[in-house]
Amino acid sequence: MLSALILVPLIGAAIVGFFPKAIAPNSSRNIALICASIPFLLTVVLASQFNPTNINQQFSEFIPWITVIGLNYHLGVDGLSLPLLVLNGLLTCIAIYSSDEDVHRSRFYYSLVLILSAAVSGAFLAQDLLLFFLFYEIELIPLYLLIAIWGGQRRGYAATKFLIYTATSGILLLASFLGLVWLSGASSFALATLDTNALPLATQVILLGGILLAFGIKIPLVPLHTWLPDAHVEASTPISVLLAGVLLKLGTYGLLRFGLGLLPQAWEVLAPALAIWAVVSVLYGASCAIAQTDMKKMVAYSSIGHMGYILLAAAAATPLSILASVLQMVSHGLISALLFLLVGVVYKKTGSRDIETLRGLLNPERGLPLIGSLMVLGVMASAGIPGMVGFISEFLVFRGSFSVFPTETLLSMVGTGLTAVYFLLLINRVFFGRLSPQVIDLPRVHFRDRAPAVVLAVLIVVLGLQPTWLVRWSEPTTTAMSAIPVIAQRTQLVSNQEWLVTSN
């Protein structure tokens, strides 16, 4: 069943790619959509059969592959990866649905998107370090091509930058994985059998440093982030949706799974530094976003800021904060996907993303009123207004991390205030005010442009009102992750020493 999540998109990619050219581009889109929705439905079925109380990997599949070097095809799913798999399925469907109908070289385009989706699913499912690494690298190639071929004006620069950065991340990751396995003397790359507790602490810290740098590029964390705004600005809308919605989550997922999961002792050593790093990311991303005039770049920087919360929660590693980091991954995936979609619609209709030139798009007769209203919703969700999923995930992040890193948590809260500042700038300039003369006579907004955004908006509100529907899948797993003895012990220790609890 899990293999189907990888195989169906791959088969779809092959069908779409080798489809006779004579058939209209539309049919390749439809086939791609079907091939993307099957895995999505499968993930939903998977979720319904998933047993949340079981903290082990479920639906495992194991096929020995290259046993000489200890590489096996081993898949599994648990509460950490399940929400991200569903998210990946959903956003792939949305990305394909919202692609331009007249996209050139459509067969190639859609097959690349499908390969990308398959690789991401594979990475989330992999239970073997080397297998994860393989999927992590495979995902680079389609994404590089998608940016380099269907991107904007400076697509070559952005795509190359992305490739170099992420390839560096891959090398670091491979080095750390090899070091992990060889130094700990394990016989295979299997995640489950790896035990690092015997390693000297210094070695662990160095290995974790490698993993942190590798995933820090992917997440991205300041100052390893400059590939992201360029990639977002140059990528087409559906690719931005995938990039922000799912691909960045590979970084945080990897951090939780391989960093915290495999090297808890070293994690404990580095956690204070990580928390500070998270704060820097949050505040730096937010203040950079304030100064942007390109809407897409603003959303991209906001993404950097919001990914910082996940790192904060991961660093704290309390039961609540790890759960919160999963929640924040999903909520950021939904919200940033919505924002990128809407910016994409505005760009498509007005030909501009410039905050300085656009004005008054909420105009009910000649503007984009529904898109504007959804934008207000998305922006407010991102700024953490209650009733939407962004609030509860951020609240849990803060609540969970506060007992371990009170000062850092309070500082990151300032980030949510700054989020309101830049997004209000965006709304006030672009959507409020009198319609600017440059953008009169906008083309019609079709159902096709609205539907994906409406779906995401509904999800954001529903999960915001009923976060339990999200929490219950992951809670046992994340609680188990924080029950690693070292972490649990530290949490107690620290909360007893902090300045906030009783003096006298």
């Binding site: 160095i206 609540l320 949510t416 300045w499 906030l500």
Partner: protein, 626 residues
């Protein structure tokens, strides 16, 4: 029947929400054929249901003990976010008041916004607004209250920004949102801290915790200040007060609700937090200082305003300042009565101002005059509202302020002085506005001024009657002092301050054109008050420019340092590669040497970092063969 009504009374806030959702087809323009009116009627219907429901429950539970309903919303790890709803005469009474005022304001809006194309959107927002407010009244959980305060921030933003095509409205909406957001974020910090320390966020459990908690003074202070910040933003207290003034750019029916109920919502949360604030003397002192500064400052500022709505809105801040002082002095009970009487009187004043604005098409006080004979109902409403605000006649605020003064008579006599000043200045201002708008000679814009239509007149007159009935209600609730317990000195002080205000207000020279004085000192004061003590410029110089500088700096760093370094490395790589290609050293031996050297260096570094070199002696000895 009664039992069912009681058990479902937590449902009261949802009526407004349902009303808001029902209007969506019209608000989003899916239904165009019918015009926006049906949306308004649906909303009115839902508000009416909410009013009746809460009224029945209120009558029913009049003499009962408060009951608390608990709903589990989210349980995760060690966090239990249960939502508590308190059903007591006070909370249900507040819900009745909110639904009632909302009903009146909505009928009023039918007239006021008759020709507005976005009527449906307005009603959707009002429904949302009302839902959040009545939720706030019933909430017994700090978490829920925080959530609702944030929702009120959002709906204020959308309501103030209702006419979003106008530039002033856009900045007003932005400022309202950001100012309140500052308060909300600080409050969130307090909420998170409390949640970690106390475990539960329900007020009753927080109060229990506060009785035994032993906090370090620093923690208690920081916590107290954070908790104050949220209500301070909502109640438009210094230094988070400017938004309320600017928010007057929004539609008037929303201003009616905002100035009467929303600010009261913030103060109500503060009242609920009182047991926790007591932990920190600094926080209490801060409350008193903020309240004093706002009460006196806002009363002064209102004197120089020439916009009719702004002239009235500053006194809202001033009255909330009095509430802040009361909570700061741990006399929260007297604050509640003042909140109630102020809400009704202020709503009436704003309805009257709205009628004037609609009829004269202007908000400028200097362009008005002589409306008393042309608009009798509006004039009556203004007079009654003004009388309900100050302590001249024994209407609502008279008794509330008497109680307020009585509470501090012995303990802190100096705050009586603040009350004296605030009350006197408010009377002065209300008299001034009355003379400019209703008295005197008619001007071009007020010459042909018919009374407003029934949609606006009916709510206005009903509220006039209600304002006159407030003392009877107070007596019914046994909130009036018995005859022998009246503090006659306090009565004397209060009446004296109002009389003084009235006398000064009616004798002061009010030039029709309100031209700026030619005498420099007088002109300086006029400008100082007219521009709110230049506080907005102070903000622009400090907070706003600091954030602006930060963002420019980090953006510059990002572009030229971080990204610049990355690009430099890229260029350097390309250039060196190109250079090597053409260099005369391009012999294969040399290339091989470079590679060998590079790889050994890398290998050395890696082995060193893994601590493998600790054994280099063994290695060396093995080579020497010894």
């Amino acid at each position: 029947m009664n039992q069912t009504l009681f058990l479902t009374s937590w449902w009261v806030p949802f009526y407004g929400l349902i009303g808001a959702i029902l209007t969506l087809p019209w608000a989003t323009g899916i239904v165009r054929r019918t015009g926006p009116r049906p949306a308004a009627y649906l909303n009115l219907l839902m508000t009416g249901v909410a009013f009746l429901h809460s009224l029945f429950v209120w009558k029913d539970i009049w003499n009962q003990e408060p009951q608390i309903l608990l709903f589990t919303w989210l349980k995760a790890a060690d966090l239990d976010l249960s939502i508590a709803v308190e059903l007591s005469p006070v909370t249900m009474g507040a819900a009745v008041l909110i639904a009632g005022l909302s009903l009146l304001a909505q009928v009023y809006a039918l007239g006021y916004m008759e020709k507005d194309w976005a009527l449906a959107r307005f009603f959707a927002l009002i429904g949302f607004f009302e839902a959040a407010l009545s939720g706030l009244a019933l909430s017994d959980s700090l978490f829920l209250s925080y959530v609702l305060l944030e929702l009120l921030t959002l709906s204020t933003y959308l309501l103030v920004g209702f006419w979003y095509a106008q530039p002033l409205v856009v900045t007003a909406a932005r400022d309202a949102f950001l100012t309140k957001r500052v308060g909300d974020i600080l409050l969130l910090m307090g909420v998170v801290t409390l949640s970690v320390m106390a475990g539960s966020l329900n007020f009753s459990e927080l109060n229990q915790w506060a009785q035994t908690a032993e906090l370090s003074p620093l923690t208690a202070t920081l916590l107290g200040l954070a908790l104050i910040a949220g209500p301070a933003g909502k109640c438009a207290q210094f230094p988070l007060h400017l938004w309320l003034d600017e928010a007057m750019e929004g539609p008037n029916p929303a201003s009616v609700l905002r100035n009467s109920m929303v600010v009261a919502g913030g103060a109500y949360v503060l009242f609920k937090l009182q047991p926790i604030l007591v932990l920190s003397p600094v926080a209490l002192d801060t409350l008193v200082i903020l309240g004093t500064v706002t009460a006196v400052g806002a009363s002064l500022v209102s004197l120089a305003q020439i916009d009719i709505k702004r002239a009235l809105s500053h006194s809202t801040s001033a009255y909330m300042g009095l509430v802040f002082i009361a909570v700061g002095m741990e006399q929260g009970g007297v604050a509640l009565v003042l909140l109630f009487t102020h809400a009704i009187a202020k709503a009436l004043l704003f309805m009257s101002a709205g009628s004037v604005i609609l009829t004269t098409q202007t908000q400028d006080l200097t362009e008005m005059g002589g409306l008393w004979s042309r608009m009798p109902a509006t004039t009556t409403a203004y007079i009654v509202g003004a009388a309900g605000m100050v302590t001249l006649l024994p209407l609502g605020s008279f008794w509330a302020k008497l109680q307020w003064a009585d509470g501090f008579w012995n303990s802190n006599p100096w705050v009586i002085g603040i009350l004296f000043l605030t009350n006197g200045l408010t009377t002065l201002n209300l008299t001034r506005v009355f003379r400019l708008v209703f008295w005197g000679e008619p001007q071009p814009k007020t010459r042909r001024a018919p009374e407003v239509g029934w949609q606006m007149a009916v709510p206005m007159v009903s509220l006039t009657v209600s304002t006159l009935l407030v003392p009877l209600l107070l007596q019914q609730w046994q909130l009036l002092p018995s005859w022998e317990n009246v503090n006659w000195y306090a009565v004397l002080v209060l009446v004296l301050s109002s009389v003084l205000g009235l006398i000064v207000g009616s004798t002061i020279y009010l030039h029709k054109a309100w031209s700026r004085s030619i005498q420099l000192p007088w002109r300086f004061i006029q400008d100082l008050l007219g521009y709110d003590f230049y506080v907005d410029r102070l903000y622009r110089l400090t907070v706003v420019s600091a954030v602006d500088f930060m963002s420019r700096l980090s953006s510059w760093v990002d572009r030229y340092l971080v990204d610049g370094f990355v690009n430099l490395v890229g260029i350097a790589t390309i250039i060196s590669g190109q250079g090597l290609k053409y260099s005369s050293f391009g012999q294969s031996q040399l290339n091989l040497l470079t590679i060998v050297f590079g790889v050994s260096l890398l290998g050395f570094l890696i082995s060193w970092s893994f601590g493998l070199l600790d054994h280099w002696q063994l290695f060396w000895e093995a080579i020497r063969g010894s």
